[in-house]
Amino acid sequence: MSQLTRDEVAHLADLARIDLDDAELDHLAPQLNVILESVASISGVAGDDVPPTSHPIPLTNVFRDDVVVPGLTAEQALSGAPEAEEQRFRVPRILGDEQ
């Protein structure tokens, strides 16, 4: 199991929009490695015949009929928004481009 470097942690923090200063990076990067090592012990138990599992329940094809069900009113939808305008969510200036 390769170690997660301090730079990689800084990069992940940036992607996750978490502002970490140098002291926090020094403190947290080794802790993340401990977690990764603990999880990695599973691969010591599971043989090559056990594929990685993403869903513990052996279910497939759980589908919904294409039928409209009532959702929220605009008022309800916006009730938790810090700011709203013209029945829309108001968000701060966007830097960068749309995906």
Binding site: L12, F63, D66, V69, Q87, F89, P92, E98
Partner: protein
């Protein structure tokens, strides 16, 4: 930064283009991909939302079965393999139009993969045209984002805006993303191949009936990848990705512009930046967006809230049986059946009259007659009214009925136009209109004979010419008789009478 653009002819002399196209198709399901909110276009802001598509804590998604069905049908129509088992994945990034802070998509397990679509680029001189096989890498299921409008700044654009307003009605509408493999060997045809491919996808989507397929409303959106490599080098250059090119013409122009731009950079010894670009409709140029982040930066992982999709082979075969005929194959078949020239066929397709002509022929009309009415008389009326041919208040069955009356010599072409007037005015069936307007051709031989005698008497010079064997002169006498009969005569019969009397 000023850009050096290399003229297109020079670009293709020295470089090989590689194309890649990603097309997003918004499905026309009743509801969204993972919740039961309506997926219709144009509702009041934030009236088609629920905790799931707003990404509220604890909300659980459930897959829309109809969307999976549409995805499989699209995959089959693109000659793809359909996965026996696949999962959804989270694509993690932050953007206000995506309320969950991840897009539920598919990553390394798309529902459809390894397909192809053959597209034909028309020959400029009206010849056969050249067919290219476009290899499809994958078609996968995902969801659309919300819609932002930017307030403040100069012109409602994102740069310089003070803040943005977001409407989440569109967030969660099912999307199918269709991705090609690199398309090589198109040379100077690259812009036309790109356009022909997007056009073929649109035709296919229309034939499948799985989307509104309106490029102008964004229900089909194309991203155009392009790179250049020195001619004959066999390598792939660095690509740019021009996003959201929203018309067929723009697809062609975007490829053309990017080829000229890339060549300018490479000629100057520079390297092309791997980035997204925006296309500008007004002048056909592109401008820099953001640098493309690596796939790893999205930190994809399997979506834990959705169980895998494992379409049974029986279901896939059932859906295969519902596939319509491939539009390009259908066109070739119909052209053969109808005996149309390439030009006639292209005009028919271009006028949006293919289905109308097909239905008119099915209702009993000769193909050339069906084509003639839809492409001349009715196209003109549709144009005058500012509507599509299909929106005109005349049905293929009525056109066939009018033509049957022409064939039976009850009316002639000129009178048929007046019948169409009546049909558009809602005056009843063709027969009723003919009766009400007194349009039927006069079949009273006595009246016709008298009119012919009169025309001969009034035009002795012409009559002499015909007697001398100059049959071409008959036209003038026929014209005179038709005028006398106010157009309500069968010109063929008039000609027979004229020649009989002067032989």
């Amino acid at each position: 930064m000023s850009e050096t653009l290399v003229p297109f002819d020079e670009v293709v002399e020295r470089f090989d283009p590689a194309l890649g196209l990603e097309i997003h198709v918004e499905l026309n399901t009743n509801t969204k991909m993972f919740c039961g909110c309506p997926a219709v276009f144009g509702g009041e802001p934030n009236t088609q939302v629920c905790p799931t598509c707003l990404g509220l804590p604890g909300a659980m998604p459930v897959v829309n079965g109809k969307a999976v069905e549409s995805a499989i049908r699209i995959g089959l129509a693109l000659n793809c393999e359909i996965a026996e088992w696949c999962r959804f994945a989270r694509k993690n990034y932050f953007y206000p139009d995506m309320p969950k802070n991840f897009q539920t998509s598919q990553y390394d397990e798309p529902i459809a993969f390894e397909g192809y679509l053959d597209v034909t680029v028309p020959d400029e001189n009206g010849g056969e045209g050249e067919t290219f096989r476009i290899e499809i890498e994958r078609a996968h299921m995902e969801e659309d984002t919300g819609k932002s409008s930017h307030v403040g700044g100069s012109d409602g654009r994102i740069h310089g805006a003070d803040y943005s307003l977001v409407d989440y009605n569109r967030a969660g509408i099912p999307l199918i993303e269709i991705v090609t493999k690199p398309i090589l060997g198109t040379g100077d045809k690259a812009p036309l191949v790109a356009k022909a491919y997007v056009s073929a996808i649109r035709d296919l989507i229309v034939a499948l009936g799985v989307s509104d397929a309106r490029m102008d409303q964004g229900s089909i959106r194309a991203d155009v990848n392009l790179s250049l490599a020195p001619k004959g080098s066999g390598v792939l250059g660095t690509r740019s990705e021009t996003k959201n090119v929203n018309s067929l013409r723009s697809v062609e122009r975007a490829v053309r512009f990017e080829m000229s731009r890339h060549a300018g950079i490479l000629d100057a010894g520079g390297s092309v930046l791997q980035e997204t670009r925006h296309f500008h409709e007004n002048d056909g140029t592109t401008s820099s967006g953001r640098e493309k982040s690596d796939a790893e930066d999205y930190r994809y992982f399997p979506e834990p809230d959705l169980v895998p999709v494992a379409p049974s082979r029986e279901w896939v075969e059932e859906l295969r049986a519902t596939l319509p005929e491939n539009p390009a194959v259908k066109r070739t078949r119909l052209q053969g059946e109808w005996g149309f020239t390439d030009l006639e066929m292209r005009d028919t397709v271009g006028a949006g009259a293919l289905d109308l002509v097909e239905q008119t022929v099915a209702a009993g009309a000769a193909p050339q007659a069906a084509r003639k009415w839809w492409l001349t008389e009715l196209a003109r009326r549709a144009n005058d009214a500012g509507v599509e041919l299909t929106e005109l208040a005349v049905t293929p069955a009525q056109v066939a009925a009018v033509q049957a009356l022409v064939d039976a010599k009850t009316i002639n072409d000129k009178l048929a136009r007046q019948v169409f007037d009546g049909l558009l005015a809602g005056e009843g069936t063709p027969e009723e209109i003919i009766a009400a307007r007194g349009l039927a051709v006069v079949s009273d031989e006595g009246a016709l004979s008298a009119a012919v005698d009169k025309a001969i008497a009034e035009n002795p010079d012409i009559a002499d010419k015909i007697r001398d064997g100059k049959l071409a002169a008959a036209g003038a006498l026929i014209g005179a008789v038709m005028k006398e009969m106010r157009g309500q005569a069968d010109a063929g019969r008039v000609r027979e009478l004229v020649l009989e009397k002067l032989s």
